[in-house]
């Protein structure tokens, strides 16, 4: 059984990969990807069930914060059935999006202004090495280059900011992204050859 499951992963992966680069198999790849899309959609419902089971257990065992879990379950099920019945474009869903989801996410993002500043201030207390120093200096230069004075841009920093963003940072970004691709390549190949089996199996 384990080999059968691994064979499915290997076969599906190889087919998609070949179709990715061979136009002749592009249609096959599209079909396989559509299936994957549907399975991902089905997995979404299982994810909902996972959320429900985790928090319902908290309620059942009266763990810390079980009342919050109850609130989460009510909001989850209420929103889902509302959207399931009325559709995602219903006015009620818009209210939920603009009244809860959006302000919550936006404010959480806004909180990062404090947490990131806090982290930057304490960075050199965590690690004192050349990369951390360069990190802070470049961040400061970008911030300074972004700021304007009442009378106009900061004289030199504006141009420096543009050059750092378009040239200096690009070199490092490309190097990092290329390295990430190399890691992705080997990781993906391990899965394709069944060396890694995130779907289970020894």
């Amino acid at each position: 059984m384990r080999y059968f499951i691994a064979a499915i992963a290997v076969a599906s992966g190889l087919l998609v990969l070949v179709g990715y680069f061979l136009p002749a198999l592009a249609n096959v790849e599209m079909i396989l990807l559509n299936w994957a899309m549907i399975l991902a959609g089905a997995a979404m419902f299982l994810g909902i069930f996972n959320l429900i089971s985790v928090h319902s257990e908290k309620i059942r065992h009266r763990e810390k914060g079980n009342l919050y879990s109850a609130l989460l379950l009510i909001a989850l099920l209420g929103t889902f059935f509302l959207g399931f019945i009325l559709g995602p474009d219903n006015i009620s869903m818009r209210i939920l999006l603009n009244g809860i989801i959006l302000p919550a996410e936006a404010m959480l993002m806004g909180l990062l202004a404090v947490t990131l500043l806090y982290a930057a201030i304490r960075l050199l207390r965590r690690r004192v090495n050349i990369m951390s120093v360069i990190f802070l200096i470049s961040a400061l230069l970008i911030l300074i280059g972004t700021v304007t004075l009442p009378l106009g841009n900061m004289p030199i920093f504006g141009a420096l900011r543009s050059w750092m963003t378009n040239v200096l940072a690009v070199g490092g970004a490309r190097g990092i992204l290329m390295g990430v691709v190399l890691g992705t390549l080997t990781t993906g190949l391990r899965v394709l050859f069944g060396m890694d089996r995130p779907y289970g199996g020894k």
């Binding site: 691994a6 992963a9 290997v10 076969a11 992966g13 990969l17 299936w35 899309m37 549907i38 399975l39 959609g41 089905a42 979404m44 419902f45 994810g47 959320l51 919050y68 609130l71 909001a75 209420g78 929103t79 889902f80 059935f81 959207g83 399931f84 559709g87 995602p88 818009r94 009244g99 809860i100 989801i101 302000p103 996410e105 936006a106 959480l108 993002m109 806004g110 909180l111 990062l112 202004a113 404090v114 500043l117 050349i130 990190f135 470049s138 970008i142 911030l143 200096l168 940072a169 690009v170 070199g171 490092g172 970004a173 490309r174 190097g175 992204l177 390295g179 993906g188 394709l192 779907y199």
Partner: protein, 227 residues
């Protein structure tokens, strides 16, 4: 009296914003209530969207009103979906493994293909094209020296930061595990470029967060009529 949706939205938005803003003091029950409410609503909303914009058009409609080919093609993912849903029961979770294996295989292939075609090639091409003399004529760069400077800096940055990640090393006589001297030098230069890149991005994230902080405070002030 009919309450306008905008008013409800505004009130909800104001309350949620205040509740989450209270996190600045520290983790507190008000903040917890807000985030659990948010998690539940967002999950329910996304699940509803997934149903209406994924499963409905791609699975239900073909099965209901599709032709034979569409139906036959929809049966396989339907079985896969059923297998995945079997994982609801821990005892039957193994049954869903084939479907998850399928997803993992496709994901690996997409990651490889996307990484090569979407990142590696374009980034390599861009690095090489930085030395394209034609760009001087098009005015994309500040003259010949500018092309040499920018292209050279980017090339050095790419190579050195790539070298920074080199993993292979050897044990020195003194017992320390180090890379070859040449690689160490390149890596040292690379960490400067990496530091600059991360610093620039960090500044961008901070400016984005600050913008959102301003937007939220502005919305609060607007709601209470102070702005």
């Amino acid at each position: 009296m009919v309450i306008s949706p905008d008013l409800i939205t505004g009130v909800l938005s104001f309350i949620i914003t205040i509740m989450i803003l209270s996190y600045l003091i520290g983790d507190n029950p008000i903040f917890r209530i807000a985030i659990y409410l948010f998690i539940g609503v967002s999950a329910g909303y996304i699940a509803a969207v997934a149903w209406w914009q994924v499963l409905w058009p791609k699975l239900v409609i073909p099965l209901r009103s599709g032709n034979t080919v569409d139906r036959s093609l929809a049966i396989i993912p339907l079985l896969g979906a059923i297998l995945i849903l079997m994982k609801v029961l821990p005892r039957l979770s193994k049954i869903g493994s084939p479907a998850m294996a399928y997803l993992a295989g496709v994901g690996a292939a997409v990651a490889i293909g996307g990484g090569l075609t979407g990142t590696l090639y374009p980034q390599m091409a861009a690095t090489i094209n930085a030395f394209d003399l034609n760009r001087v004529s098009t005015g994309n760069v500040l003259g010949f020296m500018g092309l040499i400077r920018d292209g050279g800096v980017i090339l050095v940055g790419v190579i050195s930061s790539l070298a920074y990640f080199h993993f292979g090393a050897r044990t020195r006589p003194d017992g320390s595990v180090r890379r070859f001297g040449f690689i160490e030098i390149l890596a040292w230069i690379g960490q400067i470029f990496i530091g600059i890149t991360l610093g620039v991005i960090f500044a961008g994230v901070y400016s984005a967060a600050l913008t959102m902080f301003i937007e939220r405070i502005s919305s609060l002030l607007r709601f209470i009529g102070l702005s």
